[in-house]
């Protein structure tokens, strides 16, 4: 049984890139274009890991993590936020909201897979 990862990013190319990388490594991927979509999906579906960008319209990644943590099924699902180099404060905010950790953008695929391997 392969793990399912929920990838959230408002940029289609980034989503597809992440999806491509993860799928080739054997994971199943569910894509969401923003926090609202992701949350709606999460309400009725479980995943093994959540990967979310921070800067998104409507609901940013940190709010998404906070909201997801409210869901019973997502209390103990690892969640990673994607921040940029300079986003130190985002890392802390993410943590406070309940994120497991972060990945710094731009990241290379190997790093992505390695990091995910660490938490799954």
């Amino acid at each position: 049984m392969s793990a399912t990862i929920l990838a959230v990013d408002d940029s289609a190319s980034m989503r597809q890139m992440v999806s491509f990388t993860l799928r080739h490594a054997g994971y199943s991927v569910v894509e969401a274009a923003d926090g609202v979509e992701a949350l709606a999906y999460a309400r009725s579906n479980a995943v093994n890991l959540v990967l979310t960008d921070v800067n998104m319209p409507q609901m940013d990644g940190i709010t998404l993590v906070r909201e997801l943590r409210q869901l019973e099924a997502y209390k103990f699902v690892p969640m990673l936020v994607l921040t940029t180099e300079a986003g130190q404060d985002k890392k802390m905010q993410g943590k406070q909201a309940g994120a497991t950790g972060w990945l710094v953008k731009p990241f290379d695929p190997k790093k992505l897979l390695a990091t995910i391997a660490k938490v799954l």
């Binding site: 980034m14 995910i116 660490k118």
Partner: protein, 742 residues
Amino acid sequence: MAIDPEMAEIVKVFFEESNEGLEVMESRLLNLDANADRETINTIFRAAHSIKGGAGTFGFMEISQFTHAVETLLDEMRNGTRAVTSDAVQVLLQAVDVMREMMGLAQADRPILCASADALTARLAEILSNEGAAPEAPGAAAPASRPAATPAALTPAALTPAALTPAALTPAALTPAADAPKAGESHWRISFKPHVSLFKTCNDPVRLFDQLQALGKLEVTAHIERLPPLGAFDPTECYLDWMLDLRGAAQKEQLTEVFDWVDANSSIQYELVAPAGGAPAGGAASIAAAAAPEPSTCAEPSTQTRPHAARERTSVPASVREAPAPAGAPARAASAQAAHKLGAESGSIRVATEKVDALINLVGELVITQSMLGRFSDEFDLQDLESLRRGLSQLARNTRELQESVLKIRMLPISFSFNRFPRLVHELSRKLGKKVELQLNGESTELDKIVLEKIGDPLVHLVRNSLDHGLETPEARLAAGKSETGTLELNASHEGGSIIIEVKDDGAGLNKTRILAKARERGLIAQDATLTDEQIYNLIFLPGFSTAEAVSDVSGRGVGMDVVRRNITDLGGHVQISSTPGQGSTIRIRLPLTLAILEGQMLRVGKETYVISLVSIIETVQPKREHIYSVAGQTELFKHRHEYLPIIRLHRMFDIEPDSLDVEKGLLVVAESDGRHVAILVDELLAQQQVVIKSLDTNFRQVPGLAGATIHGDGTVALILDVPSLIVKFLECAEHGVGLAA
């Protein structure tokens, strides 16, 4: 090395997205002023941020690095540490141009070397380091650090199958390589006291220990002092502390890396008990105890840290750059307009799903009609005749609807072309010191993709012309009793089978006297010729014409207008200009909605049928002897409304036997091309209908006088006349005194 097709598609999406993002940035920036609301700035920021992130991920480092400064500037604006000044906005607009240019280079798979980028980077750095920062903002002095450049080896380009094998992704391989490990072992003692809420972020100490195990021999001692009594025990909280002894060639950075995610709310201390090469501080290393290191809690097998075995490996490429977009990328000098692609020139079209759905439905209906008609081929008796008729008319309707629907797929709204104008007008009016308000009407009017692409440049030229020569300076306008701000309108609408585009300004209008004088001076018209106002205004479309005293670099010398007209007529369209002195000018362009289909007039000469585009026909007349003149025994002229039109005897040009050689017995089709009027002699006019244009060039070659061919309902081929080349051929023949086909 072949690019993984899926990867290439993803990069294409990135380019599309980024180009859209740049459009968003530009249009929002144009409206940005000191009172801008935070959400607008945020939107611009996010667009830049996405582009930067994507560029970095896909390996376009130059774009990523350039955009970083832009993003920083926008970030400061959005969090209030920097005021929104019009200078800053100008710089940002220029940055958008540069980004577009760089995207264009990237898309064309060329090196992203851009001189304007370097200049602008310097300017941005200047601004960021001291200008404009709100006084309270401290530390604005330090320019934002450069983003970490992803080393080439780690870009998606390096994503090879080997990189994804389980072996490559073992814990040992995953932990970052330290600098060349020092000889010998070091002994680190780490005291790890996490906050109770550690588990709430799904950080599992066991996994941390696994990672440490990859760095050396690990001995774990747990302290349970904080465990509360069973009644108060919450399994979701962490009450344990650990003492970790790690013996190996580990560096401090590797250790802190392991604890990176948890150190914010944990208390962690690192003690180098015995540096590498040194004897352990306290007695012999208890190798026995450390021999089989086991975490104190029941660990999941370490295979958990390996990702699930990859299945199908696609052979992923060395380079993620996609093959260059065909046809579109121009070799013109980088200018914002040049890089302002529709994205459509890449050879693909974005189609609204409704259009595709409509198409699918129509095909469905067609299939039904066809099967209904198919019944009749099996058995037919006269009673079925009525059903057959109905079936056939339904078939005709289905086919017509299907055809319209398919053509609609190639149609795009003219907003794609109009979109460049707010920026253009903004820049140009600034440069010329004029105040202009741009009004766009009918932006949703749709037209064929190719027509859309080709009308762009002519429109730009016409707009530039209006701004440069048509609209007056604010002072001149006031002096003339007009408002300071001039108006420039771009209007698009449908009319019959055409699209009408107007470029209208309320400027000074055209100067008849000057135009006439120039035309006479250049020998373009006879000294004593009398022309209507309209004819005078349309003189400006003649090659080599320009009344501007000083050649302004904005609209260039008089090479523009004739090229504009030629571009329009090449598309099968018309252009006309009208003007009222002191009040303004209007340029009216008529274009066919689609290039594949022609609204045609069928006509007959002898036994042959031809088609002529309805758009080229002014009118058809039955000539009277008294209106026909002969010149030098060769050329025949037809007097039509104050004009003398040459008569083109199609039968002579194409070597056909006509019904009669007598002009009076035939019909004269008055046609227009490039401002010239001619009268084409034919025997009879037949029906008007839409015809599908087929090229003669595919299997045969271009033929002078013909634009292509079409297929009649009966399967025979009819040739489509091309008025411009017909006139050219006619003049050639006339010159050589030859009236016959070669």
